[in-house]
Symmetry: C2
Subunit: 213 residues, 2 copies
DNA sequence: GAGTTTATCACACAATTGTGTGATATCTGA
DNA sequence: TCAGATATCACACAATTGTGTGATAAACTC
């Protein structure tokens, strides 16, 4: 029997080592490589075929969502399972929009993880134990993120989010970036809409979740 | 030779499974148990002796810092290594104040982790590769957290932080808790001082870092 | 049972944030 | 080359947050 070729991506080396150790014990799974962020995943895929990609949502350089989009665009047959600590609705919705096959919380058991990889390989949807199909459905329908896809946050906007996260006031941010407070306010306004949050607190929290900062 | 008895604590099952798989390969280490949060660690220690405790900083119910305090109080000979994604200065300082032996980032390699456990067993301080002794020293001196120790955040205050993190306004929080807005404002005021932050954004960010929410 | 911590509230005021609306210049990709 | 995205700014105003100060009662702690 042909082994399932799995590629692991996580920014924490310990997590990678651990996942590899767990998966190596299963006869039908072969870990063909590891990556520390999305770009490394894309590099790897250019060289070697992969059946299932196990992706951490939060990664620097290129996060799980963006990586999934790129991967599914160029390699639609690769099954993507997102591994995350986060169980927020909007993320799950986005996930399936970009074509991920599954979604597992990091507190799933190793047995569930292994089964998930096998299921994904066969094209089945993989969901975290605590989420039912119905929950996903209702989430997908919700008036969360608009019709489109993942919002594109610009470089400048990320600079602003970072400074807000550092507890700077609008005035201080304006000074730091050599622009007017009006400009900073506009950036924030746009970010609120793009990220679907109500205030700076929600924005920074989500930015951390998304690995933006 | 007697094996080093190691207890693992992390709220993510996958992480536990992974760590166990990694450590089991080393001849001189024996993983005697796992725990999902601090209380389970204390329960375990009542029953069985442990040499080295590998603790995740962020855990529900009882976080790594609090757990370390309790553990070192009752079992001073247990060596505690904190495992975390966080490299914030104030945390490191607090860590050594409560008597932890070591501090490792989750992106350390498995080799470094194993060596760290062996070093800790021999009573050596264990630091993440990117931190020098000098850095730690300067951090310990810094005017970060006042003279005392870890600030004690009350139950009620945590409720407030959680609601703020959910993007509620002071008015909405007051309604949710059946108190006046003045009361909520007071709780926030106290939290700002205790947590040494300037505004709600910083507070929520730090609360997440600290595993408070 | 005296002192401390926790939780509650008031009032007033300053500072900051968030919103609505509209505008201009540059850059960028199709 | 032209539409759309990005980055900039203005002005006004509403809403919310944060600060200073002081007070009371219950619970917990030594």
């Amino acid at each position: 029997m042909e082994k399932i070729k799995v590629l692991l991506a996580d920014d924490h080396q310990i997590m990678l080592d651990g996942l590899k150790a767990i998966l190596s014990k299963d006869k039908s799974i072969h870990v063909v490589g590891t990556a520390n962020h999305g770009l490394e995943v894309l590099e790897f895929l250019k060289k070697e075929p992969v059946d299932v990609l196990l992706l951490d949502l939060q990664m620097p350089v290129m996060d799980g969502l963006e990586t999934t989009m790129h991967v599914k665009k160029s390699y639609p047959d690769v099954q993507v399972i997102m591994l995350t600590t986060n169980d927020e609705g909007s993320i799950i919705t986005s996930l399936f929009k970009v074509g991920a096959t599954g979604y597992l919380l990091k507190n799933a058991s190793k047995e569930y993880l292994i089964q998930g990889i096998k299921d994904a390989f066969e094209g089945k949807k993989v969901l975290s134990p605590h989420l039912t199909e119905k929950m996903i459905e209702s989430l997908s329908e919700g008036p969360k993120i608009k019709p489109g896809d993942i919002p594109k946050i610009t470089k400048r906007e990320i600079e602003v989010v970072k400074l807000i996260a550092q507890e700077l006031t609008t005035q201080e941010i304006a000074d730091a970036l050599f622009v007017s407070t009006n400009t900073v306010a506009t950036h924030k306004r746009n970010l609120f809409v793009k990220m679907d949050v109500k205030n700076s607190v929600g924005m920074v929290k989500k930015a951390v979740d998304w690995g933006l900062i």
